[in-house]
Amino acid sequence: MRPLRSCVTQKKIIPAEVLESVHDNSAGGVVLFLGTVRNRNEGRAVIGLEYETYHEMAEKRLAEVEKEARARWRVKRITMIHREGRLRVGEVSVAVAVSSEHRAEAFEAARFAIDRIKTSAPIWKREVLKGGKKLWVDGVPIQR
């Protein structure tokens, strides 16, 4: 099996594989963040989310986020996976895993990476509501 690398994918995210991908014998800490599809948003009953991406650019942005994180913290390994397509409630939509020598860098870099993905990766989503109606979720202007 090919090792898991940061990517935007239609395939289900397996948290154990994401964790395994940042394994490093010199790391003393690993942080895993998972974003999941929740069943309510602003009072609406949500049954799923549809993610649309500018695939090539989103993957370039992930590589850029890794560079930025490495410039700030001494990260051993970092993997970021974002889903595209239709997801059901409870599914993992995004995963960020970071390994580092000590825990502080891993926590901080993981927090930075997920925040940066949200402001710089060209990804959009629509809520699929009970009854089948679809609603674009409000976003923020993309940052460089």
Binding site: Y54, P122, W124
Partner: protein
Amino acid sequence: MTRFRILYFAQTRKAAGVRSEEITLDGTPTVSLVVEKAIELHPPLRKLRDGMRVAVNEEVVSDAEIVRDGDRVALIPPIVGG
């Protein structure tokens, strides 16, 4: 003459009614001129202009940037990953 491709996503895709299209403009157009052309072709794009940003060949650029032959010009509505 400059020939390039405009890409639309999410709300800009819905407003334009297409995922992408080839456009030819005279001279060396700026990004803001290209956006104006897109709005002229697809008027529903106008109300999205404020939150829209433009990426040329997958890099976010300013409105003053020059668009060149073969470029991919993406009209990016507000993003909401995660």
